[in-house]
């Protein structure tokens, strides 16, 4: 036995790991709660689809965007979703490279979260184009008009960032998943499911040669993923920082966006892990200690976020730039002040609860703080856009922003679709990495 255990003593053999993860997936039918969740998430997704349909038919005039706040909800929601999406691969790859043992129980959920969140993120810039049917013009391809993308545009950067990151994350997810697909293929079950998993496993046998190749590839991809993730969200930060608007032209934006992504991503992983643990009975492999570790990261990230906000205020004061100072005053005392204070409460104050050790493992506190962080980060994305654009350099361009029902319906639709994808993931694929947990168990107890 080597120090702290990340599995319960009831998980004593390698078979126990396989059964703990695979049995809920293959032997149990979906329960009433799962179906109710599917119906609820589908209803939200449908509402979003209808709102998107209306938007395609009548255009962005249905949204709250105006001549000053041209980015509005679509870009704010894009930044929020891609922040959550960035965190999954970052968490997984960072913990893999640093050989963190508690990674084994959480990495699969975090990576799946990435795939689904980035997919949701990609919807918004396309809709925001105004003419979304021409979104493929962002890609370089020979065409009869002899046009090429404008490579200096932040919109084109976003296109490459989203597409590259999504496809790369799928590769990273799959390389880690292949051995577990073979486990499901070889486990007794219906012929149809065995064929399904067998096809996805691509002929994985678990030979020494295959493990060496898989391990080498997984670590190599992780080494690429860390800078890739940082660059993706830095590009999102550059969307703002590269512009000439008060409150945005700051060199701190790229790293501040990366930390914000990690922050909101960990909050989402905590919620997903809590739900999956309870719904699939994974108490043997997801322990309170896992939540304790994640809560510590959220606390640390919350402190960095607080320092980043303080750096923004300090920069405005130190520069003496009137427009920057006006934006800071507007944040604290303007018409959006309630949201700004709520954002500070969610992102800076709420995580401080995790200084108390026992609260880092109390489910209601974990849920409360994670929701506060997610809402706080969403408000931050909204306010970054609305405050600067509402009160820019030119007073004749000062406009307030208010989202419409259609804006909210599209956001709700993406939340519904995200939850629906997670529900399907929980029924189709092992939510915990079985092969990595087996290895962890062997190290812990010499199984």
């Amino acid at each position: 036995m080597t120090g702290r255990r990340w599995t319960l003593p009831s998980i004593a053999t390698l078979s126990d790991v396989t059964e703990a993860v695979a049995a809920p997936l293959m032997d149990r039918r979906a329960g009433r709660d799962w179906w109710l969740a599917v119906i609820g998430a589908s209803a939200l997704a449908l509402a979003g689809a209808v709102a998107i349909g209306f938007s395609l038919e009548w255009g962005p005039g249905l949204w709250g965007n105006n001549t000053a706040v041209v980015w509005g909800f679509p870009i704010a929601n894009y930044v929020w979703w891609i922040g959550i999406g960035n965190a999954g691969t970052l968490i997984s790859s960072l913990l893999l490279l640093t050989r963190q043992k508690w990674r084994a129980s959480l990495n699969r959920m975090a990576e799946a979260m990435t795939l689904f969140a980035v997919s949701m993120a990609g919807i918004f810039p396309i809709l925001h184009l105004g003419r979304p049917m021409y979104f493929y013009w962002l890609a370089p391809y020979p065409n009869t008009m002899q046009l090429w993308p404008q490579w200096r545009s932040a919109l084109v950067w976003d296109f490459w960032a989203i597409v590259s990151y999504l496809l790369f994350s799928i590769l990273f997810f799959y390389v880690g998943l292949v051995p577990d697909l073979a486990t499901l293929r070889d486990r007794p079950g219906s012929r149809g499911w065995q064929r399904f998993y067998g096809f996805l496993a691509m002929g994985w046998q678990g030979s020494a040669r295959q493990w060496r190749a898989q391990e080498r590839t997984h670590r190599t991809l992780a080494a690429i993923a860390v800078p890739l993730v940082c660059s993706v969200h830095s590009i999102v930060g550059l969307d703002f920082a590269a512009s000439l608007m008060p409150g945005w032209t700051e060199s701190i934006f790229p790293p501040y966006f990366v930390v914000g992504a990690l922050f909101s991503g960990f909050a989402m992983v905590v919620l997903i892990a809590l739900v999956m643990r309870r719904a699939l009975g994974l108490q043997g492999v997801i322990l309170p200690a896992h939540f304790d570790a994640m809560a510590k990261v959220i606390l640390a990230a919350g402190i960095v976020m607080g320092a980043s906000y303080a750096a923004e205020w300090f920069s405005a004061w130190w520069s003496g730039e009137a427009a920057d100072l006006r934006v800071v005053r507007f944040e604290f005392t303007g018409p959006y002040r309630a949201f700004y204070w709520a954002m500070l409460a969610g992102n800076v104050l709420a995580p401080q609860l995790f200084w108390v050790k026992r609260w880092r493992t109390r489910v209601p506190v974990l849920i409360g703080v994670s929701l506060a962080v997610l809402v706080g980060m969403w408000l931050e994305r909204i306010l970054i856009i609305c405050e600067t654009l509402s009160i820019g350099y030119e007073p004749s361009f000062w406009r307030l922003y208010a989202p419409t029902l259609v804006d909210f319906a599209i956001l709700a639709g993406t939340v519904g679709a995200f939850v629906l994808l997670l529900l399907l993931f929980g029924r189709l694929l092992p939510v915990v990495s079985m092969h990595e947990t087996r290895k962890l168990l062997a190290e812990e107890v010499g199984a």
């Binding site: 597409v163 678990g206 092969h435």
Partner: protein
């Protein structure tokens, strides 16, 4: 070699003991299957070329996109955007870096498929009952030997190391 001795172990320790003794006995291990990527596997067959393929593909992908951006912005579609130089190469880099990382990943995974022999859905190994354990909880060793006393010696080493199952396969 006229036979294959098969053994299944239920722990990495027992598997390693058997492996070490067999190698010390100058036996020929013709196959190993495991339920996870044990650190004891160390360096060996299967890893070659994965990192070079990743780096080469990534650099080639990035270079190709950088060439495309430069050519399209300067020659194919020169567009004056706020008086900025046509060859605004720093602004081309975000897309180039992202694409390079993606193509590097594709190169690495392609080499994984090649090295691991993936996409062979119908491999003879799947017909071997012992190999079936490897995806769940078993460590499997296959050792080439001659039927008779030689095979018995191999099976004895396996049993002594803690094999939970062993058998001799003869043609």
């Amino acid at each position: 070699m006229t036979a294959v001795a098969w053994a299944v172990f239920d722990s990495e320790g027992a598997y390693l003991r058997a492996r070490t003794r067999l190698i010390g006995n100058e036996r020929r291990i013709i196959g190993e299957w495991l339920p996870y990527a044990a650190d004891s596997l160390g360096e060996g067959a299967g890893q070659a070329g994965i990192r070079p393929a990743t780096v080469i593909a990534g650099v080639a992908g990035a270079a190709a996109l950088f060439a495309l951006t430069s050519w399209s912005a300067v020659l194919a579609y020169p567009f004056n955007s706020g008086g900025r130089p046509l060859w605004s190469w720093p602004a081309f880099l975000p897309a180039v870096v992202e694409f390079g990382a993606l193509i590097g990943g594709v190169g690495g995974v392609a080499m994984l498929f090649r090295r691991a022999g993936l996409t062979r859905l119908n491999h003879p190994a799947f017909a071997i009952p012992e190999v079936d354990h490897a995806s769940r909880d078993g460590f499997v060793l296959a050792v080439g030997c001659d039927a008779g006393p030689d095979a018995n010696a191999v099976l004895a080493i396996m049993a002594d190391a803690g094999a939970v199952h062993s058998r001799l396969q003869t043609p």
